[in-house]
């Protein structure tokens, strides 16, 4: 009876609450409250006092139940999974969200997939994207390199929070690539029927089977489940915290689009080549500094300390308060690199237009067009890691992976 056994998580129990008898499954407990799923499906959180165990839970393993590693019989595609919303799934019994990406389910939703593709799943790490570090980018690059040798394209399921950072990092590390590298995320987790992940993944598989020789992101074009955009990694940015169409190709449109099962390219892109060329050397002593009124010179100095390079995120065309210039000039003289970007996100930097800009140039700060701050950060790590110091300005200013737009058209600003 009740007094002899304590219920464990997963046990079916009968208990009394407010004089009524109920049955349910014990989901969790803290020191006071027990969380129980009633047989009608509702969870209740009560002080469990009088209970009887009806049935002991047999297994409570919450291990990821993943199915076969390869599915289908067509073009070989690799799917690399990381953590994030896109692979989240709820356990309907306990309500816990856990990572899962069931390949059978994936392809069964799109019956043509098994015909067309042979999808090979590789688990990278169940890391949430906000916890990703440059070291993971490097590991990822190596894994993608390996997979691209046996597959025609690589698909990476990724949390959306830092997906653009990872996409940029892969863009630079892959100087040439044998096939498309497509990152895909979702803004509504896969456990909800309205999840955007289904269409995003379908499109991403579609993109990964083209001759796109760049790193791209596949996400919703607008709020409707209709069109998926292929966005160049180095120009991508998450511009909304919650919407499906959060990712935008800043200052240019998407490169391609997926609709009704078909891929269409809209803008020119680099085609895949026969062999990967990859360099995973990244200089990690690089930082980003967000300028704002009230930022003190001491804080600026603290943030410059120990850096081989910094990305300044300035205002407007790329300005920071003059008071900071001395400290930066000092560091630049000692060899530190300083590159200005803009908080505006859209539009170019240019240190030739205003007196502040010209003074910044004088202090050794350089601009590089309309590169995004986050992309500039990743690029700086790459350039410092791979090129001779004296080629730094040239390489930063060179459009290497579509990260700098030489022309900005009128129609691309919202």
């Amino acid at each position: 009876m009740a007094e002899s056994k304590k219920p464990e998580i997963g046990d079916l129990i009968e208990f009394t609450w407010e004089g009524q008898r109920f049955q349910g499954t014990l989901l969790s407990e803290d020191s006071v409250y027990s969380n129980i799923k009633l047989i009608n499906g509702y969870n209740i959180s009560i002080k469990l006092e009088d209970y009887k165990i009806l049935e002991r839970s047999i297994t409570r393993t919450q291990e990821v139940k993943r199915d076969m590693k390869v599915l289908g019989k067509g073009k070989p595609i690799s799917l690399i999974t990381t953590g994030g919303t896109i692979v989240s799934r709820v356990d309907y019994k306990t309500g816990a969200v856990f990572p899962s990406l069931d390949m059978g389910e994936l392809t069964s939703r799109f019956p043509y997939m098994e015909e067309k593709f042979s999808i090979n799943r590789v688990d990278f790490s169940n890391i949430l994207s906000e916890n990703m570090e440059p070291d993971q980018w490097i590991q990822m690059a190596k894994l993608v390199d390996r997979e691209l040798k046996r597959s025609e394209g690589v698909l990476i399921s990724h949390g959306t929070d830092t997906m653009s950072y990872t996409a940029s990092a892969l863009s630079f590390m892959f100087e040439k690539q044998r096939g498309p590298i497509i990152l895909v995320g979702s803004q509504r987790s896969s456990d909800r029927p309205s999840s955007d992940s289904y269409l995003n993944i379908e499109a991403a598989v579609g993109f990964s089977a083209t001759d796109f020789g760049e790193v791209g992101i596949a996400m919703h074009h607008n709020s409707s489940d209709e069109k998926i955009d292929l966005i160049r990694g180095a120009r991508s940015r998450k511009m909304h915290s919650t919407r499906r169409d959060a990712f935008k190709a800043i200052g240019e449109g998407p490169v391609g689009r997926f609709q009704d099962g078909l891929v269409n390219f809209i803008r020119p892109y680099i085609r895949r080549v026969e062999e990967n060329t990859i360099s995973t050397k990244l200089e990690k002593r690089v930082g980003m500094i967000y300028f704002y009124p009230g930022l003190s010179v001491e804080e600026m100095e603290k943030n410059l300390d120990g850096k081989r390079g910094v990305i300044l995120i300035g205002t407007g065309l790329g300005h920071i308060a003059i008071k900071h210039l001395e400290a930066i000039k000092e560091k630049v003289k000692e060899g530190m690199k300083a590159v200005i970007t803009t908080q505006c996100i859209f539009g170019t930097t240019n240190l030739d237009v205003y007196s502040t800009g010209r003074q910044m140039k004088g202090a050794g700060i350089m601009d590089c067009g309309n590169i995004l701050p986050e992309t500039a950060y990743v690029k700086m790590m790459y350039v410092l890691g791979n090129y001779d110091e004296n080629r730094f300005p040239e390489m930063m200013r060179k459009n290497m992976r579509g990260e700098i737009l030489e022309r900005e058209e009128m129609g691309v600003f919202p």
Partner: protein
């Protein structure tokens, strides 16, 4: 059949729409359609399995596109583009009040759940619902019933139209709070059920906050007579309950007889569809010709041992099958018992029977289908027959206009319910309970008495306020001293303004102005002026930010009368006109009257 069987059990689920804005965002109760919209697909989630999920699998297999029309009272949350905000405080309090009225035990901590529904009526693919209380009893005139659960949930989208694979919904109703009160299956007759439903409805009305509109109170009826539980959705008129239940009991009775007949004949067999299109190449049947022209094929299968049960002698198994197919988007089913019909002759029928090698007790089904629809059709029919043969007719059914019912979907099971992870557990604090307790609705008579006493107003006014769903507002605004004034505002001033301006304002805003005035000790004239401004379309923030509601002091009025050179002989109404046009402030006419009299007296002195 004129009576329900003796083993009948009836339970009720009564839903009430609240007029307090939406449950999980800050949108209002009413809105207008906007030009934009968006489309979505919904997917059944994995991780579930078994027959409970059949409805999801079906839904998804239909590959429908849902189009949503954006309304001015919808935001990113209704569009499933943003996590929900905290629960609507007023809605929660109202639910707690209801729970108290039925002595239902309130949970200390409330978990919001997601109930998966993928017919598009929720953009998220689930309905948010939370169990607030369990237990308690309700007494009607003829019966007493236990309360199993009182929950607070989101209303779903309004369906606008359905055309092929596209269903159009509007977002205005999505997210409106619904209180759901579920009873035990303690009623045995339709009359008992009606008496309980009435009592619940009365309490809901007495509490106030009922949204306007015909479907503000809707009830589902649970019915069982030994063949499992059938949930009948959308009974809007109580008077129809009797007919609906009689029809349903007859349906179940006949169905059970038909299934017994099949079993007696030795049961049935797996379906075996044959493409018999070639038989119809020169057919005169429009329906068939049209199908063939659209590239569809004509399939037929034996229904072993179903002869005479599909549509004859009161048996209607054919309709059961057709209804199930309709749910997966398949029309165009024809069965033996119907023929001759649709341009298909008796000769055709017999030819088919021969071709299909029909045995004596067999019947057949014909389907006009796209090749890719065959699997889902076969699966659907087999599932339906298996279900009927099991003699467990449990399912969700919808009421039709003739008070018969139609198959809707399987009962949604607990396995499709899981926590709304975006909303932390809600703790029901003591002060919340106290507030709720103040508003807990008694019976109509009790409440009228209590209210009229508490606020010093007439019984008639109290009744009007209750019926108008304004009692919550009265409680929020009034105290012993100003009860009359607030009552007048609710029963007279506001309705008069609604008439005058030809529009209704959200009560949230009306309450805002009255509260502002009571908090700032501004009197009746300030309130009326504020309401006039509101009805004239002046935004709240303007009404409240200016000093326009401040009453002028006697001194100020006297000075103004002087500078305006108002003569004692101007008369009250003309004086008021001059004064109001000279100031933005509020003028109390009683002061003016007094001043005029004083002036007169002085002058005459």
């Amino acid at each position: 059949m004129n009576e329900l069987p003796g083993n009948t059990k009836i339970g009720l689920e009564v839903h009430m729409q609240l007029n307090v804005g939406k449950l999980f965002c800050k949108c209002g109760s009413e809105g207008e359609a906007e030009k934009m919209g968006f489309t979505r697909k919904l997917h059944s989630s994995s991780g579930e399995s078994g027959s409970q999920d059949i409805s999801s699998v079906f839904e998804e297999s239909r590959n429908r596109t849902f189009k949503y029309i954006i309304y001015s009272n919808s935001c990113l949350i209704e569009a499933d583009e943003q996590p929900p905000t905290q629960i609507n405080d007023r809605a929660l309090k109202a639910t707690l009040s209801m729970a108290m009225a039925f002595h239902s035990s309130i949970l200390e901590r409330i978990s919001v759940m997601r109930k998966v529904v993928i017919d598009g009526s929720n953009t998220s693919g689930f309905q948010r619902t939370s169990l607030i209380a369990m237990g308690g009893t309700i007494k009607g005139d003829l019966a007493e019933a236990g309360i199993t659960a009182i929950s607070l949930e989101e209303d779903s989208c309004r369906k606008i139209e359905e055309e092929g694979n596209m269903v159009v919904y509007s977002l205005d109703r999505l997210g409106i709070p619904l209180i759901e009160i579920s009873t035990s299956p303690d009623m045995k007759t339709a009359e008992e059920a009606i008496s309980i439903a009435k009592e619940i409805g009365n309490r809901l009305r007495v509490m106030g906050l009922l949204k306007k509109g015909a479907d503000a109170i809707r009830q589902d009826v649970n019915f069982s007579m030994g063949y499992g539980r059938v949930e009948i959705k959308g009974v809007s008129k109580l008077s129809a309950i009797r007919d609906i239940l009689l029809n349903e009991s007859e349906r179940q009775q006949k169905l059970s007889e038909a299934m017994e007949a099949v079993m007696k004949r030795g049961g049935t067999e797996k379906l075996d569809f044959k493409d018999i299109s070639s038989m119809f190449l020169g057919s005169n049947s429009k329906m068939i010709r049209k199908g063939l022209e659209e590239g569809k094929l004509i399939y037929a299968t034996i229904l072993k041992n179903f002869k005479g049960l599909l549509k004859a002698n009161g048996y209607r198994v054919g309709r059961e099958i057709a209804d199930a197919l309709k749910q997966v988007g398949i029309k165009g089913v024809i069965h033996y018992d119907e023929l001759p019909a649709y341009g298909i002759t008796v000769g055709d029928r017999d030819e088919i029977s021969e071709r299909m090698e029909l045995k004596e007790n067999d019947s057949f089904l014909m389907l006009i289908l796209g090749r890719d629809e065959l699997d889902i059709a076969r699966f659907t029919i087999e599932e339906r027959i298996r279900k009927l043969l099991s003699m467990d007719f449990s399912e969700t059914r919808a009421v039709l206009e003739d008070n018969s019912t139609r198959y809707m979907r399987p009962l949604s099971g607990s396995s499709r319910m899981y926590p709304e992870t975006d909303i932390p557990i809600i703790k029901v604090h003591e002060d919340l309970l106290q507030e709720a307790s103040r508003n807990s609705p008694g019976s109509m008579e009790e409440t009228i008495g209590r209210i009229s006493e508490e606020y010093g107003i007439s019984g008639q006014d109290a009744e009007t306020i209750i019926n108008d769903q304004k009692v919550m507002y009265l409680r929020e605004l009034a105290n012993k001293h100003n009860g009359k004034m607030i009552s007048r505002l609710i029963t007279q001033t506001v309705p008069e303004m609604e008439k005058k301006y030809g529009r209704e304002m959200e009560w949230n805003t009306i309450v805002g102005i009255i509260k502002y005035c009571t908090e700032n000790s501004l009197g009746r004239y300030s309130m009326e002026k504020g309401l006039h401004m509101l009805f004239s379309g002046i935004p709240m923030n303007e009404i409240l930010s200016h000093k326009k509601l401040m009453p002028l002091s006697e001194d100020e009025i006297r000075k103004m009368m002087k500078t305006r050179g108002i003569d004692k002989n101007e008369g009250m109404s003309r004086t008021m006109d001059i004064l109001t046009s000279s100031t933005e402030g509020v003028i109390d006419p009683s002061i003016v009257a007094r001043l005029i009299n004083t002036k007169k007296n002085k002058d005459s002195n």
